[in-house]
């Protein structure tokens, strides 16, 4: 186990820079998730940690070793790939023991290490099978088993669940988290799915266009997004954004609706702001008018898409909404779900 320090990391392909100086500190035993939309550079960052991509600038340290110029095999890492990358011509046991075999460990010893890893993952009865005889979830477990057997300093996961169906993804999510709690190995996990990030991470790194937008614990990111990008990316359904002008009574929207603000923070009177509103923070029975367009009952909750102050918003209500399309309902807003951002810079204004 080791800490990982990423310091001013840059990556360019020819003249195009795709990572513009990324700093992340990962503590020993931490589970860090790199999340962002596709093309944000998260996978490139992970591959640079693994040594599969050349580092154009900055420094990567694993423990206290600078690994910039070390080949992957000398970095003491294990990586799980999106499409599992199991060797099709080797059995499960051989796949899991491959790295040990390469480093010249004796057969008996390899078997000794493979067996407990297989047992942890529930693969003990599949050791003689070939990858093509396994289901998606089992293959994913073998890929993790291959990483576990090596007992590396750092685990790297590159979107490991995106090839699985939705149900399996949820259970594998829990399994990976469970595994981490058991092994306590430092883990860097890349995903584009913010739910995966929220549920699994000790710490989330939100990336966008080659820079880090915010680093923090999952709920910190949800409660206090640093800017519009993070606010819109974390949370599902996404936060509603309403443009308006800040004043002493609150935020005045284009059509004159005034929305309440309890935590104005750095906002100044007359400033153009974006009023961020979590869908979950709306409740029936208030004086903010919402014109219903679509209601989507899911059973436990009701999603309502409607017009508020000339913009489309989505609300999630714990109660059942019976309003018909076109009707106006009054809602109240939980102050905790309100976030003010500067319209020009997108930076957070609320405390």
């Amino acid at each position: 186990m080791a800490s990982v320090t990423i310091d001013g990391l840059r990556k360019s392909y020819g003249a195009t820079e795709v990572l513009h100086g990324v700093d992340v500190d990962i503590a020993e035993g931490e589970f860090v998730v790199l999340v962002g939309p596709s093309g944000c550079g998260k996978s490139t960052l992970l591959r640079m940690l693994a040594g599969l991509e050349h580092i154009s600038g900055g420094e990567v340290r694993i423990g206290d070793r600078v690994v910039n110029h070390l080949p992957p095999k000398d970095r003491d890492i294990a990586m799980v790939f999106q499409n599992y990358a199991l060797y099709p011509h080797l059995t499960v046991a051989e796949n899991m023991g491959f790295s040990l075999k390469l480093s010249g460990v004796r057969k008996a010893q390899i078997a000794e290490k493979v067996r407990p890893a297989a047992e942890i993952l529930g693969l003990a009865h599949l050791l003689d099978r070939y990858p093509r005889q396994l289901s998606g979830g089992q293959r994913q477990r073998v890929a993790m088993g291959r990483a576990i057997v090596r007992d590396p300093q750092v685990f790297l996961f590159d979107e490991p669940l995106s090839n699985l169906d939705a149900k399996l993804r949820v259970s594998m999510r829990a399994e990976i988290k469970n595994l981490h709690q058991r092994l306590k190995t430092t883990t860097v996990y890349v995903t584009h799915d913010q739910i995966e990030a929220m549920t699994m991470a000790d710490k989330i790194v939100v990336m966008h266009d080659g820079i880090v937008e915010q680093i923090g614990a999952p709920l910190d990111l949800y409660d206090r997004p640093a800017n519009l990008f993070v606010a819109g990316f974390i949370g599902s359904p996404a936060m509603n954004f309403l443009n308006g002008v800040f004043g002493p009574d609150g935020v005045t929207l284009a059509d004159g609706t005034v929305l309440p603000v309890t935590d104005a923070g750095a906002a100044k009177a007359g400033q153009q702001v974006v009023y961020g509103l979590r869908p979950e923070s709306m409740a029936l029975g208030g004086d903010v008018p919402l014109t219903v367009e679509v209601t989507e009952p899911t059973g436990a909750e009701t999603y309502v898409v409607g017009q508020l102050g000339g913009a489309e918003v989505t609300g999630v209500f714990r109660t059942r909404v019976t309003a018909k399309p076109g009707e106006q309902i009054g809602i109240r807003i939980d102050p905790a779900g309100i976030h003010l951002f500067d319209a020009a810079s997108g930076a957070r204004l609320s405390h």
Partner: protein, 294 residues
């Protein structure tokens, strides 16, 4: 839902397209023509090889399409009174060694071009392909000069070293396509697992490319087995000839064609290739139709 009454009608949706007459007309008849055209020369070769000489040209008393009193005289003559066994041996040695040489060189070339991504890799691939486009009927003259200068004229080495000039480009291209179908992640995974380039090649890429290697090998073997121009040009003494050249130059004396022996020679000469194909046909087909599957 109401139960549907069981029927003994086994028809499935489009069965009426598959009536017997239609099938015979659209499937079996064309197939039969095709098979006939393909196999008739072999049949002719086979019956001529065992036909007594007096039946060969006498179409009035004997049907040309079968044999009345089969004989092994031609084959005995071929094996014991000509240098045919030596030609066979030469052909085997030359084909096996040049195929092996070509495969080794092609594996390295194809892997380097496909995966090492050095500057000019694409260009190299293209040049190798261009080399393949130059026909042997043009190349044999300059090659003959080289073979003479090097001093390997009229030896097996002359063929072993010249056959790869057309085998390597071919095998390289075939293997490049095959290597390309191996997912990149497998190699990266191996890299992270601690493998060196050499280990990736020998422990991951080559085991996965067995079907590709086999079909490249079969192709190379067949090409060298049947090769004619180089063998005709670079070999002069009878005992160093290969089967295709030997049969043609030694069994046709002036205007006398020893048909029986010629056909026996051709028949025996084509057997090894047939056997080779039949052994590896599964691999061969899979390498033509499918890529590496996880």
């Amino acid at each position: 839902m109401a139960k549907t009454a069981p029927t003994d009608d086994h028809s499935e949706g489009m069965d009426h397209f598959d009536s017997r007459a239609r099938r015979i007309l659209t499937l079996w008849l064309p197939l039969a023509c095709f098979v006939f055209v393909l196999l008739f020369p072999f049949y002719w070769m086979a019956i001529t090889a065992i036909k007594p000489n007096y039946q060969l040209t006498d179409y009035e008393n004997y049907s040309p399409f079968w044999v009345v009193e089969p004989t092994l005289r031609h084959i005995r003559y071929l094996l014991f009174e000509t240098t045919y066994p030596a030609w066979m041996w030469n052909t085997i040695v030359v084909s096996v060694v040049s195929t092996a040489l070509a495969l080794v060189a092609s594996v390295f070339a194809a892997y380097a071009i496909e995966r090492l991504r050095f500057r000019g890799a694409r260009m190299t691939g293209l040049l190798i392909f261009l080399a393949y486009l130059v026909p042997p009927s043009i190349l044999f003259i300059p090659l003959a000069v080289i073979v003479f200068q090097v001093g390997i004229f009229d030896s097996k080495l002359a063929l072993i070293l010249t056959y790869p000039t057309f085998l390597i480009p071919f095998c390289t291209w075939l293997l490049m396509g095959y290597f390309r179908s191996i997912p990149y992640e497998l190699e990266e995974s191996a890299l992270v697992d601690g493998a060196t380039r050499w280990q990736i090649l020998t422990k991951i890429v080559l085991p996965l490319s067995v079907p590709g290697l086999i079909s490249a090998g079969i192709f190379a073997f067949t090409l060298s087995w049947n090769e004619f121009i180089y063998a005709l040009t670079f070999i002069s003494s009878s005992e160093n000839k290969t089967v295709p050249v030997g049969v043609l130059t030694e069994l046709v004396r002036g205007d006398i064609y020893e048909w029986g022996a010629l056909m026996s020679g051709a028949l025996l000469g084509s057997l090894p290739v047939v056997i080779l194909y039949s052994f590896f046909v599964d691999y061969y087909v899979s390498s033509m139709t499918g890529a590496v599957k996880e």
